[in-house]
Amino acid sequence: MSTDIKLDPALPPADNERSAMGRRLSGLGGNAREYGIFGALVLIVLLFQILTDGKLLKPNNVVALFQQNAYVMILAIGMVMVIVAGHIDLSVGSVVAFVGGVVAVSMRDWGLNWVVAVLIGLALGALVGAWQGYWVAYVGVPAFIVTLAGMLIFRGLALVVVSETIAGLPNSFIKIATGSVPNWLGFIGKMDVVTLVIGGLAIAAFAIAQFRARASMRKHALQVEPTGAFVAKIVGVGVAIGFLSVILSMSAGGMPIVLIICGVLIVAYSFLMGRTVFGRHIYAIGGNRPAAALSGVNTKRVDFLIFVNIGLLSGAAAIVTTARTGAALAAAGNGFELDAIAACFIGGAAVTGGIGRISGAIVGALIMGVLNMGLSILSVDPSWQQAIKGLVLLFAVAFDLINKRRAGTS
């Protein structure tokens, strides 16, 4: 409390106390949505853990959960950036099929090394993104139209490339999606040591980053959060990562490679959105496009680049999807765009742009993934699964809106 009060010499004491309270409340309000969605994920996990008699969190199921949903997480990262800027991308599913087809052809028919094939896939994805970004940013065609056209164009091209299923892909390629980090360090009981080490490193990295941020704020004589909350945050996140690592370490293979890929992407893109000038420009454009333009932001270039980026990430999703199937299919990626968009909106992105976070979209993707897995373990009919997912999306966004309206009127 005492640290709170000395901030505001301009205001009389009565105002000061109110503002200290207001600061607490507004601080909570800013993160409430984030905590809320995280809490919802935990609740859904617990619910299905009970309903499935503990099958949901069995190590091999948890690994499968990540392997099955890696594509949604990768696409949701790109999609949330597009949505924050006030656009939409309906084409990602078709792009996944098209790029996946070319990657498969390049390995089977052209005999290229899988590393080269992966690079080709990423480059092709970026090229597709540049194509769509050009129309959106420089011609001014609404993204909805451009990517609706892209959905048809690239589905068509996928059918051309993959006239019949392309199977027999190299094992090292398939391992990207289905493999695990090798168990170099042996086992403690049933637990893979490499997985535990990776988990431990992640916890340490998180704690160090937090401490450094705190130290830097102190150095700048800025207000830091209370020590209790700070410690609770590190312990909470640490326990969560530790718990997950222990479960994963007891799975058949240990740490899945796709989880490492997703983890790196999540950290990198969170940094991009939260800490860089480019990320700030995306929020500025989505929040108020004319104001951003009048502040000197090159709105066209930003629009172009976010589409190049989602193209690149669609390429990555194509590689993961093709590797998981072990084959390229013309029908691959069907409905992926809707999964990614749903993940973003469940994760708190605003339909009107300007609001949305990578972490939210990832949690949104995991909620959809857990629902899928839990309902599958319970052998719920896939048709019903789809209907239930639709309802979850509707309720999540409605709940958010009602919450905001209440906050606005109070």
Binding site: R23, S26, V277, Y283, G287, N288, P290, A291, A292, A293
Partner: protein, 519 residues
């Protein structure tokens, strides 16, 4: 004359008082309109004319204001605009409320369709629309889309729409502001024609020659109060000068901080600047304007609505407005090309908009992010933002400009108008420009905060910046500027030094018509 309802008056408004949070917009306003007359209401921008008309038409429902409205001898308590329209009061707003992709006929009967059991009778719609179009003198087919006709004709469609509702009292808010001379003349002719058919009109206008030519009665509003009402056909002739005196003759209850400018060399010169409307590309909104501003100097741009001040500023600022822009910009003697906003900022220009909500701030972002919004590179290294540095900068400006907020992590949309304006100023000051163009910097701000803004403007000039202030409040310009340009209909019609400036003189320049300037 006593205040009881008399059949001679179609409308009487008694003691209308309307408050907004922190602002008294109307204070004990009385207005009586005689049946079958054209009643002009004039006053400066922000005097309360439009607010009064919104009270009358039910935009502000009964109960949100004090006072009584008597229409046709009956007390009226309108809850919505539908209530007032039901009695025959129709308001035509300055921004036309037509649906651009619908036809003229569809627009005329929008919300009032010629229909039976939900099915539109298109023959009745089009034939009735044609009759109404003939009445307003518009020779267009009723099935023409509204977007395909000019603003002048759209104005006539609005009037046809009003006529379709059996209008008794027609309210026109600055009807000729966006029209050329020919369209204006036609419109004024139409209004007097309607008067001959018994339709009463209230016309808000600040074009004094129009008022002189058409109005039967003129009421002057100033600072939310009715000042005087003239009978335009009375024994004593009512001159433009007489009306101007009524419009500006306020007591100077606002105080301006004392300031002595130290003026240096010329920083910005604009020569022969011409800008055309972005859509109606044949219409010049700024014509051959030439202005300059020097180091440490505060220069005002005075003008009424539609004079082209904002258009001039925005077109210079990286061509953010207009089409077919021509003319030259000199920065410290060197000619510069400002093709984008980025160019303008790079050459040391800043433009703080009159419309904070739509063009100035990201309301769903924090104060901190807004303040660093223009000069983000200054708190970033290799594209990575130093958030602590950013926070420090924001805190610095919060204290320096006294932005009243618990923290800079509050969303900009939660601030009051005055504090939002300080955030806008902060972001431009942090960009460290040489020339600041401030467009209506005190609009919608209470008196106390205005004083603070003036102090900031003075300080910027003292730091050697050149400041251009666009304002609709003449006392404000007289109180803070070293030199004032007056604009009228896109032209610079006068330049007055502080010592020689009076409100009357400026108002004369500001109301100068095109043919007058050429003589």
């Amino acid at each position: 004359m006593d205040t009881t309802a008399s059949p001679d008056y179609i409308l009487e408004m008694h003691g209308i008082t309307k408050r907004f949070p922190g602002v008294l917009a109307l204070s004990d306003v009385n207005l009586k309109v005689r049946r079958g007359q054209v009643h002009a209401i004039c006053g400066e921008n922000g005097a309360g004319k439009s607010t009064l008309m919104k009270v009358l038409s039910g935009v502000y429902p009964h109960g949100t204001y004090e006072g009584d409205i008597v229409f046709e001898g009956q007390p009226a308590e309108f809850r919505t605009t539908r209530d007032s329209e039901h009695l025959g009061i129709v308001i035509i707003h300055q921004e036309l409320a037509l649906s651009p992709f619908l036809s003229i006929a569809e627009n005329i009967f929008l919300g009032n369709e010629r229909a039976k059991r939900g099915l539109v009778n298109w023959n009745a719609t089009n034939s009735e629309a044609a009759k109404l179009l003939e009445r307003v003198g518009l020779s267009e087919r009723p099935d023409t889309r509204v977007i395909d006709i000019g603003v002048g004709k759209q104005q006539l469609v609005e009037i046809a729409k009003a006529l379709s509702k059996d209008v008794k009292l027609l309210i026109l808010d600055e009807p000729t502001a966006a029209l050329n001379d020919e369209d204006s003349a036609h419109l004024l002719g139409l209004i007097s024609g309607l008067r001959d058919h018994g339709i009463t009109s209230i016309m808000i206008s600040h074009k004094l020659n129009e008022i002189e030519s058409i109005a039967d009665t003129t009421t002057v509003i100033r600072d939310g109060k009715t000042i005087e009402t003239f009978d335009m056909h009375g024994d004593e002739p009512v001159t433009e000068e007489r009306i101007i005196r009524g419009m500006v003759g306020r007591s100077l209850d606002q105080r301006f901080p004392d300031h002595e400018s130290v003026i240096g060399e010329e920083v910005l010169r604009i020569e022969n600047w011409t800008v055309h409307h972005p859509i109606d590309q044949a219409r010049a909104v700024v014509e051959n304007a030439s202005i300059n501003v020097r180091r440490g100097e505060i220069v005002g741009l005075a003008g009424l609505m539609g004079a082209g001040r904002t258009e001039l500023a925005m077109s210079v600022f990286g061509r953010s407005y207009g089409s077919h822009i021509s003319g030259q910009v000199f920065k410290s003697g060197q000619e510069v090309q400002l093709r984008t906003v980025h160019d303008a900022i790079r050459h040391g220009l800043a433009y703080a908009t009159e419309d904070r909500k739509h063009y100035g701030l990201n309301l769903i972002a924090t104060i901190q992010a807004n303040i660093s919004g223009v000069a983000l590179d200054k708190v970033a290294r290799m594209g990575v933002i130093d958030r602590n540095e950013e926070l420090k900068v924001a805190e610095l400006y919060r204290r320096d400009l006294n932005i009243k907020t618990p923290t800079v992590a509050v969303l900009a949309g939660k601030l009051s108008g005055g504090n939002q304006q300080k955030v806008v100023l902060s972001k431009w000051i942090y960009a460290d420009p040489d020339v600041l163009i401030l467009d209506e910097p005190t609009r919608g701000i209470d008196v106390g905060a205005k004083y603070e803004i003036y102090t900031i403007i003075n300080r910027l000039a003292d730091e050697g910046k050149a400041v251009i202030v666009i304002s609709s409040e003449l006392p404000e310009l007289l109180g803070i500027c070293d030199r004032i340009y007056a604009l009228s209909q896109g032209r610079v019609t006068g330049e007055v030094a502080r010592e020689d400036a009076t409100q009357e003189r400026l108002m004369q320049y500001m109301t100068m018509e095109k043919d007058v300037t050429s003589r």
